[in-house]
């Protein structure tokens, strides 16, 4: 035991021996090359997707982080946000809730997104293919329900602020992570072993007091930290596309209908365009991808308008229930607005993505924290994906600020555990409800259909409950 520790100790020391000898005794020009001590950052964010870039930018604009060293690593190239937006919409979009907007606003990115392109959602209508039950969410108050924005527009808005942070955040593009060396297990810390170390494909090594994993759902940092995930595949595929409406409208409603094969949603992009997110079986998705453009448009319209799946028992009970609610003085099914008719699909905008759910059982370890899809990936149905990630960023930023104001080491486990506890409390609940909703609607067995349609109606009638749901979705 003792001797193995020593071996560890010695081997940890060795590279530095070479260095110091090199410095002291060997004249410049001699062949002995030494790797200089890897640079030490306070925070290294791995992964420059929407969530990682927001993390870096949020810290870069944080007064308490002045003088701290922050680095963002991204495998891909830098997106050029100065080019004018193409007229065509990008096919990947997100609906941003109030919490996400307030994070983005806190470091100035929200203004950029508003000025570029995004659409307000004032109403959300969810209904069921098997019955007439419907739930609507209106937001009459100042707080709008959500905004829909293209992923690229969101990322560009954040990137602009990252650049505005100047020297306070270093960024390396084309920097693919090859390996991590994480602390732990040593009985004796050294300057080398105390911190988390990342090795890039280029061979460069960088140390961090806190390494933040924002490297997406296949997170390499998560595996290096030996953090297990619980995951399952829905055996479902998401089909996305940009769609043009038959006629321009005041397009501020998000539409979602639960079909037998899964939910289909239209998110407003402009007065003329919607983004489609259609979650369905792998077979149907392949079929949808291969359909000629006109038939694809027909399929979408059919999915929103068709009555063929209506379950008569459910409809009958629904009507009875509606009557009951009215007698109780509660408002039953609110008037159903009709979804818009689609006329055209943008060429080349159709794409498909496999859908899965996964959740890291831990979000932190000593000197490691996971944010965004690296920590949790949900079904895109509830539009929670990136919102949960932005929620992670907001909380972690706030905790790190207080940690710095207490003079603590930013990577020590104590406060990271607070982040984990608070976030998991929120994320697990919302994942469970998204997944539960998904499962509830993934069937047409009569009792279940009845239950959910009554559930939908009751929720619609019970204002307080609905407000709770909106509040929850907004945080």
């Amino acid at each position: 035991m003792l001797s193995s520790r020593l071996v560890q100790f010695r081997s940890m020391c060795l590279p530095v021996v070479l260095c110091s000898r090199h410095k002291r005794n060997i004249h410049v020009g001699k062949q002995l090359r030494c790797r200089s001590k890897p640079e030490l950052y306070d925070v290294v964010v791995c992964g420059g997707g929407m969530v990682g870039t927001a993390m870096a930018a949020a810290l870069g604009h944080e007064p308490m982080f002045e003088g701290k060293r922050v680095l963002l690593l991204e495998a891909g190239p830098k997106q050029n946000y100065n080019e004018p937006l193409p007229e065509k919409f990008f096919n990947r979009t997100c609906s941003l809730n109030a919490g996400a907007v307030s994070l983005l606003r806190s470091f100035g990115a929200w203004e950029n997104i508003l000025n570029a392109r995004c659409q307000e959602v004032k109403r959300m209508q969810i209904w069921d293919a098997c019955s007439d039950s419907i739930i609507t969410f209106n937001h009459d108050s100042l707080e709008n329900l959500a905004y829909v924005a293209e992923n690229n527009v969101i990322l560009a808005g954040i990137l602009k602020q990252l650049d505005a942070a100047g020297d306070r955040v270093h960024v390396k593009y084309g920097a693919t992570v090859k390996d991590y060396k994480l602390p732990g297990g040593q009985s004796f810390d050294t300057e080398q072993s105390k911190y988390a170390c990342v090795q890039l494909e280029s061979g460069e090594e960088i140390r961090a007091k806190l390494m933040i994993g924002a490297d997406g759902f296949k997170s390499m940092l998560r595996s290096a930290a030996n953090i297990p995930t619980i995951s399952w595949n829905y055996n479902h595929v998401g089909v996305v596309a940009s769609l043009r409406l038959a006629e321009p409208t005041e397009n501020n409603v998000a539409w979602q209908r639960f079909l037998k094969t899964g939910p289909i949603a239209l998110l407003p992009l402009s007065n003329e365009y919607c983004n489609l997110i259609w979650s369905t079986t792998p077979e149907e998705s392949k079929h949808l991808m291969m359909l000629p453009a006109e038939s694809f448009v027909d399929a979408v319209n059919h999915a929103f308008w068709s009555d063929e799946h209506k379950n008569s028992a459910a409809q009958y009970t629904n009507r009875l229930f509606d009557g009951l609610l009215t007698r109780l003085g509660l408002e039953g099914s609110s008037s159903q607005q009709l979804p818009p008719t689609i006329i055209e699909v943008d060429k080349g905008s159709r794409a498909m993505f496999p859908l899965s759910l996964s959740h890291a059982t831990q979000y932190v370890r000593s000197r490691v924290a996971l944010v965004g899809d690296a920590a949790h990936r949900v079904h895109p149905m509830a539009g929670q994906g990136v919102n949960l990630g932005f929620g992670d960023v907001a909380l972690l930023r706030d905790l790190l600020v207080s940690v710095v104001y207490e003079g603590k080491d930013v990577g020590s486990l104590g406060h990271l555990l607070k982040y984990e506890t608070q976030r998991q409390r929120h994320v697990v609940v919302s994942m469970a409800s998204v997944d539960g909703l998904y499962r509830l609607y993934g069937t047409d067995v009569t009792p279940v259909v009845l239950l959910r349609s009554l559930g939908l109606q009751a929720t619609n009638a019970l204002r307080p409950l609905k407000e709770k749901m909106i509040q929850f979705a907004a945080n």
Partner: protein
Amino acid sequence: MNILSGTVRTIKNAGSWAILRVCQSYRQPVASVVNTHRNHSSYNKVCCRHSEASGGTNTIDDEEVALFSRHANEWWNETGEFAALHSLNDLRVPLVRDALLAQITPSGDNKTLKPMPLAGFNILDVGCGGGILSEPLARLGANVTGIDASEEGIKVAKWHKTLDPEALSRLNYRCAAIENIATAEAETYDGLVASEIIEHVTDQRGFVTACCQLVKPGGSIVFTTLSRTYLSYALGIVAAERILRIVPAGAHDWKKFVLPDELQDMIRENGMNIRLVHGMMFNPLTSRWSWISDTSINYAIHAVKPGKSASSSESSSSSDSDSG
């Protein structure tokens, strides 16, 4: 935290000497610590003796390395023996920080957070041990001097500082007894912290006097300690040391615990004004501390030396220039 018996300390000292010597020949960072202490004569002697004996070769004494590493680990493992001291930082760092900030903005309305709020303040951490409290205070920008009568504590502290040299460049440690520096360094410090130390001191009155002597007019002293009540006996000694083993056994002598009133009297006798007396409670299940009004177990006292703080304008201007 002068809590180990003399013999144990000697052995541990020997261990630390050796590791420093080893480190000197192997590693740059620790070697630099050694250099800063050239003037410590007894230290040099030991070093010389060692290198003569080993004839300049790098023989490592396994046991000595292990001893130092165990001792360092004891201090700095946040979930180890000193876990309660680590988490006590949650209370005492903000307490010291806000006490010092109140010296420049007494109303406390200066709520704008600054990254180095304590830039320009000189702080003496009395009984710094392995540096658990000195490090965060230095990270807040203060010039911190940590002193401890126990040499192995100081050695651990110096070694640990090298792990984060940039952030801790304003931190210095010395092995010294407070009585011996009180006159030479009288009225040098803007703040003095004596956290979890007075309960180990024999001449407590003399200790408090020395503390008060060291701060400038307008400067603060902050004590945290254990009260001498039956409750503290039950919780502090029986439960903490013997049952839960939160604190090393034999670490405390209950008879030396000071009641809040006694400590306040000693402080007032030195012409200081008491600003705050507050109870603290440790929850062993969560390993977290919280403030409570009850002072019968652990408590903190903040007192201020009357007179205009000579440093206040100085420190505010220097912190301004730091952030600018």
